[in-house]
Symmetry: C2
């Protein structure tokens, strides 16, 4: 391999050995550590550098309690046990920041504000891409993740994003997992089931 | 940092120093290298392990020529110059594979087939998450990426996904970038612009 390749051990940490957590150690995650996740993930590419993801980190017990009633019942207990919980949202008003984020083309903002469907699809695709970067970044920083989409999106939006055009995308518990709570690993599709080379 | 953390150099490769490429070195990428991207990215988490992403790798000149007319004019030349191009799609029939991928709950398939909106949103969110894993995996394997969503989705679907329920999501050129084609880096949102801690 070239000197430019990431070590096999690092690939294990971010992909091969990383597991979704369902049970958590009682070990805090500092605010600085949460900020470090964003500081890495924000460099990942998005369409026209639009960067539509917005994140609310629930680090206090009181903040997590505000989320609890909106989680699917099966997700409640395990989520409350995590050191922190991130609500990953997408800002449907992301185009307002394009003059700053994409100065290369001052008209880019208008392309999105004039086309509601393109705006919505771009926000959803790119905020989800950024969700992938978020999970990888958290793992790369030594944290475990418990991502989930089983919750009441409208309720979460009213509770955490009132007065904005931010919509919740998914929720991700963060902390140090307890291996006792990890399920046996499910299979993945083989290359031939998911891909082809032409 | 703990022994569980990825090295700073690796973080530079997958996040901080990685740049979207617009010009490519004339240096081939082997089929085995393309397969290695999928072999890593497939371990990333998705809802109910649904793994809706499907990928067509265009590695031959003839295959890339089939894509060319559907690309936005500004994206054509730079894309044709890449060693390979991946079309990342989402399979709206992903639920058919859930009995294999998520044996824990045999009824999971029916939850998606009975709810078209949930099915569509789950496919789009999770195939895009997997798009994030794809880009990170390619970079971790020493490759450069040029992701783009400026193309005729319907045309690409007819050309490459006819007879299936797979819809194109985004396209990603792959190869070894020529630094001469990299634009100056645009800013990212600060933590306080994109996040808050409660």
């Amino acid at each position: 391999m070239t000197s430019h390749a990431v070590s096999d051990e690092a690939l294990n940490i971010i992909f091969r050995d990383a597991r979704t957590q369902n049970k958590w150690q009682n070990k805090p995650v500092s605010h600085a550590h949460l900020m470090a996740i964003y500081d890495l993930m924000r460099w990942g590419p998005t369409s026209a550098n639009a960067s539509p993801a917005r994140i609310v980190f629930l680090a206090s017990h009181a903040a997590k309690e505000r989320l609890k009633p909106y989680l699917a019942p099966l997700n409640r207990e395990k989520t409350m046990g995590a050191s922190a919980v991130a609500i990953l949202g997408m800002d449907l008003d992301f185009a307002q920041k394009l003059p700053h984020l994409f100065p290369n083309n001052p008209k880019m903002k208008d392309i999105f504000t004039a086309n509601e469907e393109l705006n919505r699809v771009t926000a959803f695709r790119n905020a989800s891409l950024q969700g992938g970067y978020f999970i990888v970044a958290a793992r790369a920083l030594g944290l475990d993740c418990g991502p989930m989409s089983g919750f009441d999106n409208d309720g979460v939006d009213k509770e955490f994003f009132a007065g904005t055009n931010i919509k919740s995308n998914f929720v991700c518990a963060i902390g140090y997992g307890d291996p006792a709570g990890v399920f046996s690993r499910n299979p993945r599709l083989s290359f031939d089931e998911a891909c082809e080379i032409l």
